[in-house]
Symmetry: C2
Subunit: 622 residues, 2 copies
């Protein structure tokens, strides 16, 4: 096994109450790496197609990466995956923080959870051991309370807890898994899978050391980041995400009222500068990271917010803010806190409420449906109340807990046109009408619309340092945002490969290590004689494996498509005269398939699978 890793994973069968330790060899690590790579491997190998994502046959996989816990900034992430109850396809999400590092130090690199416990349980992992423990007393408790009790009964305040709140317990299809009450693996409903297994929490503690090959080199890279902080990632260090909201509103990148409108007049009220100047009491960070990009907010009555639940990221500010037509920062922070208490993904929660608001304003939902709640765009109180109702599956919340796709089907009456999702997952908070490659990225993401498989396309259009960065991959000239031609598709592919690589290594997507620095990090931690070539191929490999999982589940190219709304301009604002051309999108999708070595239906070809060293996947697609 490589340096940086334990070579050991935990397999927990909740049905049989059996715990096994398995070992993995160096070549396995080098091919599947960790994180999303491990998840794609085990899901393809062990989860049969067609199973119920919320049934006992689904498997929930927690995974660290080879660099997790090494002394280098940006390696506090961990990843969790399963067949998604939201999309029915490949499900995976990552969170920052400390939990993954603690897992690594406990002596395990990953945990595979199988079956379903007869009654609520939690898993206690520490120092190369694991134990399934009773959790009936925790069931129904919010995350803060549950964490307090777990730490108390295990007698250790440094225990890190990944858990679900009542939202996950109640199988809200977009329930998340939350670590330390604020570090969130948000997308694809992994919290619902956890709930379906009667698993309240995974508590971890370890005292192991993460051995690396060249700690001097890592120190050098860390120093580079510290010395260049303001230059390369000052925005995150000073504001965290969301500093650009006002600018986004001007250029049309701020989703507004369920992606319907193009202008949000009071955008400054909800951006990260406003957060800093009003409710922010400090910044928090992940393991070993000097950037500290995570806001901590405190608010008094009436919407009192407890700082232990962190503060809203950009996606949250937009999803529960502008996308619901809301400019009340306190309300957004409160909704964020409730999401973290209940373990709800803030993106899907906000997007689902925005959908309901548009249905309400168009008469598809009535006061009867909402129990009298005036669910208009901009109604902050209604939004906050709705979040709580979703977490409790109370009233309309029960319907909205299913996500926009299923809710629209149940509402009928053409509600589908307000359901802004891809493959059943609600779309994150950037504008496909503005950022065309981002739109295609949402379309082809194996997890449904997802911003951690396709961060943004600023880097491709930006000059200076950004362009120099991409040049290292042979992208030598800037490409305009509106371009959706082959050069943009290529840039997207390289960008996605790199994002997915980071989801395997579990390196942060924000810290702008260039490709050579990132190669150095992997070499210095693992001892692998690796190159950017091998690393980019990891991203391509895992992207293709996730695709294969979806193909096997019956997804077709028709599922790789944007909601109709994006083919029309916004009602006002910067994008009131432009939209995605469906013909160009179709062409770009075809180009994407062909560049990826997939056939015209998006099915990976045998030769490509062989080239990626995963010829065995071809057997699964027959």
């Amino acid at each position: 096994m490589p340096h940086g890793c334990n070579g050991r994973i935990l397999r927990v069968d909740l049905s049989k109450e059996k715990i096994l330790t398995e070992t993995l060899d160096d070549i396995f690590y080098r091919r599947y790496v960790g994180g999303e790579g491990f998840i794609a491997y085990f899901l393809l190998k062990e989860v049969k197609p067609g199973i119920d994502p919320l049934g006992p046959s689904n498997k929930l996989i927690f995974a660290s990466g080879p660099v997790t816990g090494a002394p280098i900034p940006g390696n506090g992430r961990s990843s969790v995956g399963a067949k998604s109850p939201l999309t029915g396809g490949f499900g995976e999400a990552e969170s920052g923080g400390f939990w993954g590092v603690e897992l690594k130090r406990s002596g395990f690199d990953a945990i595979i959870i199988e079956g379903k416990a007869k009654r609520p349980v939690y898993l206690w992992v520490h120092d190369r051991e694991a134990e399934i423990r009773e959790a009936s007393h925790l069931w129904g408790k919010d995350t803060g309370e549950a964490q307090r009790i777990i730490r108390e009964e295990l007698g250790d305040d440094l225990i890190r807890v990944a858990q679900i709140g009542p939202g996950g317990e109640r199988l809200v299809r977009y329930a998340c898994i939350i670590n330390d009450l604020k570090d969130v693996a948000g997308r694809t409903g992994m919290g619902a899978v956890m709930g379906s297994k009667n698993l309240k929490a995974v508590a971890v503690r370890g005292r192991g050391r993460v051995n690396v090959v060249d700690s001097e080199k890592l120190k050098e890279l860390t120093n580079w980041l510290i010395q260049n902080m303001n230059d390369v990632i000052g925005w995150a260090h000073n504001y965290g995400t969301g500093a650009s909201i006002a600018a986004y509103a001007m250029i049309g990148n701020l989703p507004t009222r369920n992606f319907r409108d193009g202008n949000f007049s009071n955008a400054e009220a909800i951006d990260a500068e406003a957060v800093k100047n009003t409710v922010r009491i400090g910044m928090d960070g992940c393991y070993a990271c000097p950037v500290r990009c995570k806001k901590v907010v405190r608010i008094g009555d009436p919407w009192s917010v407890d700082p232990v639940y962190g503060g809203p990221e950009y996606e949250t500010l937009a999803a529960l803010g502008s996308n619901c037509g809301i400019d009340n920062l306190n309300a957004i922070c409160k909704a964020n806190e409730i999401c973290n208490r209940y373990s709800l993904d803030t993106i899907s929660t906000g997007a689902t409420i925005a959908f309901a608001m548009e249905c309400y304003e168009n008469g598809l939902l009535t006061n009867e449906d909402t129990d009298g709640l005036k669910l208009n765009f901009g109604n902050a109180e209604a939004m906050v109340q709705m979040v709580e109702m979703i977490g409790q599956r109370r009233g309309l919340g029960d319907l909205l807990a299913e996500g926009v796709k299923r809710a629209a089907e149940k509402i009928g009456k053409n509600a589908e046109k307000f359901a802004i999702h891809i493959k059943g997952q609600e779309i994150p908070m950037h504008e496909p009408r503005l950022k065309r490659a981002l739109g295609l990225g949402y379309v082809i993401s194996p997890t449904g619309a997802d911003h951690q498989h396709n961060l943004h396309d600023m880097g491709i259009t930006g000059g200076g340092r950004d362009l120099n960065r991409f040049a290292a991959l042979g992208i030598l000239e800037p490409i305009p945002l509106e371009d959706l031609g082959p050069r943009k598709v290529k840039a997207l592919i390289y960008h996605v490969d790199w994002c997915v690589l980071n989801n395997c290594l579990l390196l942060c997507n924000f810290i702008p290590w260039d490709y050579l620095q990132e190669t150095e990090i992997v070499r210095s931690v693992t001892g692998w004689n690796t190159t950017a070539w091998e690393l980019m191929k990891i991203g391509e490999r895992v992207t293709t494996m996730a695709r294969a999982f979806n193909v096997r589940e019956g997804f077709t190219k028709e599922d790789d498509w944007l909601p109709e709304r994006f083919f029309h301009p916004t009602s006002s604002g910067a994008l009131s005269e432009t939209s995605v051309d469906p013909k160009k999108l179709e062409e770009a999708r075809g180009t994407y398939y062909e560049m990826m070595g997939w056939d015209e239906n998006g099915v990976p070809k045998k030769a490509k699978l062989e080239e990626l060293g995963i010829g065995w996947v071809a057997e699964l697609l027959r």
Copy 2:
């Protein structure tokens, strides 16, 4: 333009006696790099399909690379290309030595020769200037004499001369271009193209400096090589090529009697150790290289060999030795000297004589055809005489000067079965029956069978350092020689990409810089923020451009095939019970096309061309 380059090329129209200087920008360099990349670019852009390779419409392109002349070992190479008179397709060959460095220092990175001079001329390039000079007095002179006269009349003994001898003048289809009398751009008949233009020589001299970005880093890498010389490239330092001939004979890798037989009993008599112990008087090298892998031999009467013509490389020892059934080292050295005097490619010369010997032994050529010469395998005197006859196009030499493909057509009577070539180019001296990926490499090489587009596949099968090297590209496990399945095809592709990259950078294929060291070299010379990803993509890009050139010339997948002989075992020796399975070869060829993003006929697809940043090539293939 990047550091290490002049940003300036010379365009010489011999018909109009016009000389132009053109400039190239940084992006052009970064995309097409130099050497084979420049050649592929200009041939595709400027040479119309269907032209006569020996007519005035062909263009002859000399090119250095960005690292040529920088202070780093292995950068003494230069490249020359044109439409090949031997294959009718993409022609390109490289040589080591000093000429390319001198060109770089003269202020130009490449020279494009167009048209045809009315009478013999030579080109004199120096200090940012160039001049077309009368060469009638040089025409018919051998290379040594011509070089002496040129240096004398220009009054400078340090002038480097790339030239043809009487073989090139007489349009021997596999005539080479020779620098410093011993550094040879051997394959694809570039010397015939030069002869067809009435161009005897390109003499260069320069006093410019090659500026680099980080000379300290280059010094560090040089020191690494010097300190690890014996470990990483001791074989070349101590013996030069050909040290393994005895071992090759045992395992069946030594082509014997026109690839017919598998055993060559006296192999030790012609290997590099025998050379060292008998005729060798020293070792010579290329610019800035401490390896010094080039033998210098001197022999007295009757086969006196002048040491200025160097000594035989492995390919020469086998082609004019074992493949002609000859174990007389003096004869081989003499034949090598004649080839260098006449500018004949030793591989094609030896292979063509071996072909003639087999025809002779089978009665397809008679004493009448040979003017009484007993052209049996093993007849060293006849071989030496035949080389001279080819250079003079005298008697049977005139027929053999056409290469085995055309000679077999003229001989008829089934002579084709003895014509061991691919696309018209004679096969170099490694055994496709043993090294299966090498066989496929010969098959798909755009230049016809060629060992500089596909060096060998030892690295993929070897352990230790070699395996560690390939691991950097994600090839994690050894692959047996006899494997021709998808994992071998993939390894071949990566290997070819890297060889072709080196043909663009003009870095030596022998010095085993690992991929990261090579990346460091390019970064340190040019200042490009590059990675192994970008570099490997250069190899893929240029391979695909060369393929496109051939597609446009009408080559089809039927041209990508081995001679029938390799589908049968050798008559004796280690390969007497094994051969290439044509079904497996066909499958592997298909896999190769698919992995390359080409269609089932081997035509590069539009999306792949776009991905490689050469969408404009698609227009040429319509």
